[in-house]
């Protein structure tokens, strides 16, 4: 059952408007709806994943060296960022495709995309540091943009996701105002970083804007203001989730429980990254730990959404959620398999022939093609058994279904009807809830000291 019911609209909602809103927010699109948006999401996801896989392949083909990116140069830090970015982007793309009108999916894609830029840009800088020549301008621009924007954008958009979750709208006018904080803070921190004398993530490179444009003190002030804003944003996001959870009914609580925990985890792990990156600037060893913790914390969010969707029918889209649970791990498994094969076979070739060979790419691709279907089927079976909710399972129609109706069929039909009646009752309860406030309609007392006015019809 979906939870996307707006509990407190500005000034309240009429029953009809609430019903319309409910239907809108339910937002499970009909087949063929929003084709452009869905196509766009798919395209962005595909391109980003391909670029990321190419970067991972290049990195592994070079022996997975430490890369010259501050706080994230160690292989395990890069792996953590890559996994986090893939998970976040994939979950964001899935939600955006499924519910194009819900901002959560779209905004959730942003941190994934921002983090995906880290590895390719680090590889470009690594290449530039191999020689004693000026850095190519393309590398310089990419490094500058990534260094200035990636982290603020990833953190800022994650906080926006938390503020909007799950219905794509802030839970009240007050929280709507809070949305401005991460947006402004992201812009200010990005600008302050862009004006820094040294690129913050690639400190061996001088910032192209440098001190010529503004006083270093002004850039530092902007960075501090942006940093402070993002810290406040993270706290606001955590507060928003907690607030939603506290005021939610049992169904909603059940559905967002995992997400609230993950959101809190994200806030707790991202805050040290902000402090470490923009305030204290500890050494690389500590920085890498902070990055891994933040990437793990942030990765928990899409995982929690996936759990909420599959276990608690969040967004009511578990019918097809299995695809995500199949194809995201499938992508990761195949990418890992491909990378491992390339590295292994290159080593074998170097041992046998003394040099690397392009045949490795061909062989690895062939193995990958052969492995695709068996791996997919295995994952499909696993997801079917362990994750899909009972009513979401897409089981094959038994042959007996074509036969005459039996007593058992009657019982099953009655059970189905009963479940539909329950759902209708739930809808009715929600409408009452919308008309008369969060505590009415369920016999629950209105919370004492509530600052909110009881909505009027």
């Amino acid at each position: 059952m979906n939870v996307l019911v707006r509990r407190r609209g500005p000034g309240g909602l009429s029953a009809a408007a609430a019903l319309a809103s409910f239907r809108t927010l339910r937002d499970v699109p009909e087949p063929g709806s929003h084709p452009v948006a869905r196509l766009m999401v798919t395209g962005v996801w595909l391109v980003a994943v391909m670029v990321q896989l190419a970067a991972v392949t290049v990195w592994l083909a070079r022996g997975a060296p430490r890369l010259p990116v501050s706080f994230a140069g160690a292989p395990w830090a890069l792996v953590a960022i890559t996994i986090c970015s893939l998970l976040t982007l994939s979950m964001g793309a899935f939600l955006a495709r499924r519910m194009p009108r819900n901002l959560v999916g779209w905004v959730m894609m942003v941190p994934g995309l921002a983090l995906m830029a880290v590895l390719p840009s680090a590889l470009m800088v690594h290449e530039a540091l191999e020689v004693l020549r000026p850095v190519p301008w393309t590398t310089m621009v990419v490094a500058w943009l990534v260094s200035s924007i990636a982290a603020p954008l990833a953190i800022g958009s994650l906080t926006v996701v938390l503020l909007l979750f799950p219905d794509g709208r802030p839970s009240s006018r007050r929280w709507a105002a809070a949305l401005a904080v991460p947006i402004v803070a992201t812009a200010v921190l990005s600008l302050g970083s862009a004006l820094d004398r040294m690129l913050i993530w690639f400190p061996m490179l001088a910032g192209p804007m440098g001190p010529g444009l503004v006083e270093p003190a002004a850039a530092a002030l902007a960075r501090f203001a942006g940093f402070a804003g993002l810290v406040v944003s993270v706290l606001l996001a955590a507060g928003s989730l907690i607030d939603r959870y506290r005021d939610a009914d049992e169904a909603l609580r059940r559905q967002v429980r995992w997400v609230v925990v993950a959101g809190g985890l994200t806030a707790v792990t991202v805050a040290p990254l902000l402090v470490g990156r923009y305030l204290l600037r500890p050494g690389d060893a500590v920085g890498e730990l902070i990055v891994v913790a933040a990437a793990s914390g942030a990765a928990a969010f899409p995982i929690a959404v996936a759990i909420a969707i599959t276990r608690a029918d969040l967004f009511d889209i578990d019918v097809i959620i299995g695809r995500t649970l199949v194809y995201v791990p499938l992508t990761a498994i195949l990418a890992g398999l491909y990378a491992a094969l390339v590295a292994l076979l290159q080593r074998v070739f170097v041992t046998l022939t003394g040099d690397t060979s392009d045949a490795v790419i061909v062989l690895s691709t062939l193995v990958l093609a052969a492995a695709f279907t068996p791996v997919r089927q295995t994952l499909d079976g696993f997801v079917e058994r362990h994750f899909r909710s009972p009513h979401g399972r897409s089981r094959p129609v038994p042959a007996a279904a074509a036969g005459p109706i039996t007593e058992q069929d009657h019982a099953a039909l009655l059970a189905l009807l009963a479940s539909h009646v329950e759902r209708l009752e739930a809808v009715e309860a929600r409408l009452l809830h919308l008309e008369h406030g969060p505590r009415l309609g369920r016999g629950l007392p209105v919370k004492r000291g509530s600052r909110r006015k009881t909505p009027t019809a």
Binding site: S70, V131, L132, P134, R197, A206, G210, P211
Partner: protein
């Protein structure tokens, strides 16, 4: 000059015999004589910047020439003090609460130790050094960084792995590869004129030319990935690639190949090895050295390009091409005095760097410096900037005990090549517990 390691250990007999004018004045004022190799106490006044280094002879003259315009323009006096033991002298000065304003650093490992002890100032904190950040090759900027902070600035660069020859081998041309070089050398060498001149002798640092030999061979035989693994400690000394590089080096210093035989290689001073290229007959056809070699030849009145020339160490068959080894003079800032920061900014700036390379014997890390005093140095610079991969001197990056063990191993295997496996096993046993790279 140009590489840090031997500045720390062998300066006494090399290029550090002549103290600078201001230093001499200071000493005279103090009424004391300074023995060669000792550090000199300097009491900088408000407008004096104390510099501790190892430069001497032509290098010190060049430094004086570079700072003279700075002194004239700013009124700041540069008080230079020389030591043969940078690490020890810096530690001593810090211990007594009298650190120099600026000092040369004995290498990345030494720099990292000082940075972690908190005695090196963050150069990135000063806007005066923005020019260094903008104009220096990022690979060198990165070399001076420890834990996000820029704590060392490269003021001079040295290109390693150059094969020098005199007139005797001028007509032989540049070989197509290492094997071609070996064949040519064998064909044209005689009992009087051997293929190679090698000098491993160096007071306090015997064996360093051998480490350069092995590093350059390894870079060309096995490539940068193996090199990096070796430097960071993940590849053992007993690995086949390391053994192969040692073996190729041992071919060079075999009794029939090297001037003076094994004894000659072990006892000849490193800085005098190139002298064997000249003479009638010359004692050797080739010597392997770095871009500081012309300064030594020029001091003897040799003409670059006419009396001597070079080509980069050739590639090995089946090996890796395009990579070169470099070294650099790292300087650290130990005080917050604005005058010291100004001096460092000047030394790394384009004007001083141009003046520095114009004196010969050095290359600049400043990307804006493209003009060199002669065709030969211009070619050195072209090799440096044209390399597809650059690696910093491996032994300079090793912790001091490991670096010393490496040099000792070079001496041991040169004297007794049959002990190669045993020596490598010993090196591995010595290195493994502590790690051999600066980052390990």
């Amino acid at each position: 000059m140009g590489h840090i390691r031997y500045r720390t250990r062998q300066e006494g007999t090399r290029r550090f015999a002549v103290p600078g004018l201001l230093l001499a004045l200071g000493m005279l004022a103090a009424g004391c004589a300074v023995r060669a190799g000792d550090a000199t106490d300097v009491e900088p006044g408000p407008a004096t910047v104390s510099v501790l280094g190892t430069w001497t002879g032509p290098e010190l003259d060049a430094f004086r020439g570079v700072v003279a315009p700075f002194e004239a323009a700013t009124g700041i006096t540069v008080a230079y003090a020389r030591t043969t033991d940078l690490a020890g002298e810096i530690d001593r000065r810090i211990a007594i609460g009298d650190p120099p304003d600026l000092a040369g650093l004995a290498g990345p490992a030494h720099m990292e130790r000082l940075a972690q002890a908190g005695v090196l100032r963050d150069l990135g904190a000063s806007t005066e050094l923005d020019g260094y950040l903008r104009e220096t090759a990022p690979a060198f900027v990165r070399l001076g960084m420890v834990d996000e902070r820029l704590v060392g600035a490269i003021v001079k660069t040295t290109l390693k792995g150059l094969v020098w020859h005199g007139r005797a081998a001028a007509h032989l041309g540049e070989p197509d590869g290492w094997d071609d070089l070996v064949r040519t050398a064998a064909r044209f060498s005689t009992d009087d004129t051997r293929a190679w001149c090698v000098g491993l002798g160096s007071p306090g640092a015997a064996g360093w030319p051998g480490t350069d030999w092995i590093e350059n061979i390894l870079l060309r035989q096995s490539g940068t990935r193996i090199w990096d693994a070796w430097v960071d400690g993940s590849l053992p000394w007993t690995a086949p690639e390391i053994r192969m590089a040692f073996a190729a080096y041992l071919d060079v210093v075999s009794p029939g190949s090297v001037a003076g035989g094994t004894y000659g290689a072990l006892t000849t001073d490193a800085l005098a090895a190139g002298d064997g290229l000249f003479g009638t007959p010359p004692r050797c056809l080739y010597t392997q050295s770095a871009s500081f070699q012309p300064a030594l030849f020029d001091a003897q009145g040799r003409d670059p390009g006419d009396d001597y020339d070079f080509f980069p160490m050739p590639d090995f068959d089946g090996g890796h091409s395009g990579a070169v080894e470099v070294a650099g003079d790292l300087v650290g800032l130990f005080t917050d005095r604005p005058a010291a920061i100004r001096l460092l900014a000047w030394l790394t700036g384009v004007e001083a760097q141009r003046a520095w390379v114009a004196t010969g014997g050095g290359l600049s890390a400043n990307a804006r410096v493209t003009e060199y005093p002669d065709r030969l140095t211009q070619r050195e610079a072209a090799v440096l900037t044209g390399a597809s991969q650059v690696r910093f001197d491996a032994s300079d990056q090793m912790p001091a005990p490991i670096e010393a063990a490496f040099r000792r191993a070079v001496m041991d295997v040169t004297a007794a090549p049959e002990r190669l496996d045993e020596v490598l096993a010993d090196l591995e046993a010595f290195s493994a517990p502590s790690g051999r790279g600066p980052r390990s």
